[in-house]
Structure formats: C-alpha cells, structure tokens
C-alpha cells in the first residue's frame, strides 16, 4: 500500500485515490484457492521429509526470477555479428544457446528468422509456452485469452495494436507454441545498428522483438 504520506486528519479507509493519485489495490483477503493450498502443502511436505530445503526452493525461485530478455538479446546480437553462429542457431537453437553458456535445460528451441519478406510472431494458443530460460517470465498479455485467440486469426491487427504495421507484401508467419518446442524470433538487424559491437547490439534487442510483436530499437 502506498502509505508514504500519513494524514492523521483523515481515516484510512483506502477508498478513492492515494495521496499520490493512484487507486488503492484491494487487499487479497480471500481464501486460498485449491491450487495455492496444494502448492503450500506439497512444499511443506517436501521440506518436512527432507527432500528439499526451504533455501533450495528459494534459490530456484530466485534463479527463475533472474532470467530476463537480456539472455535472449545476447543470443540475437551474436547471430547478427557472427554468420557461423547464426547458421548454427537456425539449425539448432538449443545447441547454439547452450554453446553460448545459457542453461536452457531440456528445452527444445527453434529460432525463426525475420527477413525483408517474412515476419514471424509466436503465440501459445493453449496456455503460456514461452522460452523462459532465455526470455524470463512471459508478459501477462502473452497469457491472455485475447492474445492467444486473436493472434492466429488476425495477426496483422494484433501487431498493429502493438504499434507494428507490416507491409502488405510481407508474409506473416504465426507460430503456435503448444507442444514440445519453444520459439524465439531472430529479428532482422536494423540498418542503423550496422557496425556496432555485439555488446552494443544486445541493447537494441527488445523482449517484444524476440516474441515477434515488436522490432529492435535503438536504446533510449
């Protein structure tokens, strides 16, 4: 709760707006859901029986939370400057990512190359399949029913709502990631970034450009 400015002349009902002008968020004073209770029960049992420690569980959560699109951006930047790596990435993105030192676990990864003729966009119509080891947690909109259902039928309209208007002659390829594979888009390198170093280029690669709903951008 934003409680920076205590005003003792007013009650604290938290109705209306906070002193900084934002609506208060309702407290989550609801019962645990079935699956929340299941998660807690399972976690406590694993700890009680000595299979895992609380520290190990927290370490894994921290590891999951620490993954970010910066990992994928490094892969893309390497592909932009190293034609051999790019060929390896397009042939077997999982092996190429591991060769760069990224622990992507058992994930099977396919890299999809954007060109002047083809634009790729990734969606999981079933749920939230996403290359988390390279991009971190998926954004909320990626898991929304609207994105999942609309991207397969009106991808150009969806992309335009992300601010991406594609030329009519460019082919859109929608990739439904609902089974055993994960996908990362290899965006086309912007001409304005030619000649930059691999490290500089990584700053151009946005999360959205690796999902296919955006393009690389010059760092702000």
């Amino acid at each position: 709760m934003p409680h920076d400015h205590h005003d003792h002349e007013h009650d604290h009902s938290h109705e209306g707006l906070s002193p900084s002008g934002h609506p208060y968020r309702a407290d989550n004073d609801t019962d645990l859901s079935y699956w929340q209770a299941m998660e807690i029960a399972l976690r406590e049992l694993l700890i009680e029986k000595g299979h895992l420690t609380a520290a190990q569980i927290h370490a894994q959560i921290n590891a999951m939370d620490s993954r970010s699109p910066a990992n994928g951006a490094r892969v893309v930047a390497r592909a932009w400057v190293d034609p051999e790596f790019k060929a390896a990435l397009l042939a077997d993105a999982g092996a190429a990512s591991r060769a760069m030192g990224f622990d992507i676990g058992p994930m099977h990864l396919i890299a999809l190359e954007n060109t002047k003729e083809v634009h790729n966009v990734v969606v999981c119509t079933l749920c939230s399949c996403y290359p988390r080891n390279l991009l971190g947690l998926p954004p909320d909109w990626y898991k929304s029913r609207a994105y999942r259902s609309r991207t397969v039928i009106e991808p150009r309209k969806v992309l335009s709502e992300f601010g991406l208007e594609l030329p009519e002659q460019m082919q859109v390829r929608v990739h439904d990631s609902t089974a055993d594979m994960r996908y990362i888009v290899l965006p086309a390198q912007p001409e304005a970034s030619l000649g930059l170093t691999e490290e500089e280029l990584a700053a151009w690669v946005t999360r959205d450009s690796m999902i296919g709903v955006g393009l690389p951008q010059a760092p702000q």
């Binding site: 039928i153 991808p155 150009r156 859109v172 609902t178 055993d180």
Partner: protein, 90 residues
Amino acid sequence: MARPHESAHQIPLAARPYPHAGLSTRQKIGQIERRIGLFNNPEETAYRQTGPQRELVRVRFRMADIWGARAERGEDVIEAEIYAHWLEPV
C-alpha cells in the same frame, strides 16, 4: 532437418484423447515445414503409459485454408507442431 513443402498432408477428424492439433487445423491441408524428431506420445503420456516415441513435425497452413474468407491475408501462414500419426496423406 526440414525439407519444406515435402508433401501435403491432411489431418484426420478422429477425436484423440489429448490432441495437440487445434480444432481449427483439423481436416485442413498443410505442408510439412520441418521434421523435428521423436518425442513421447502424448496420447500415452496423458495416461502415464510409455510406448514407442512418435515423430513430431511442423505443419504450415495458409491462413486462407484455415479461415477462408475471414483471413486477413490468405498467403500469411500459421505453423503448428503436430504428431505425424495425426496426419494422413492427401
């Protein structure tokens, strides 16, 4: 590795216990974009059964073939992973 446009396939209508093939692609004609390899058969995995692994392929469908006149642009495509034994030649 992929051999694009290797052959045309048709997805059978037969209901499957755990079909990864979305309803929208059933009975639609697409082309194999690439062969991915062998994976556990989800029809068996769903029931904790183990059997021979099955081939998974990526199938490319034209939007016009999936959505007909509703397609934004008929020559755009959608690609999905489908088990080879859920496909039949046409």
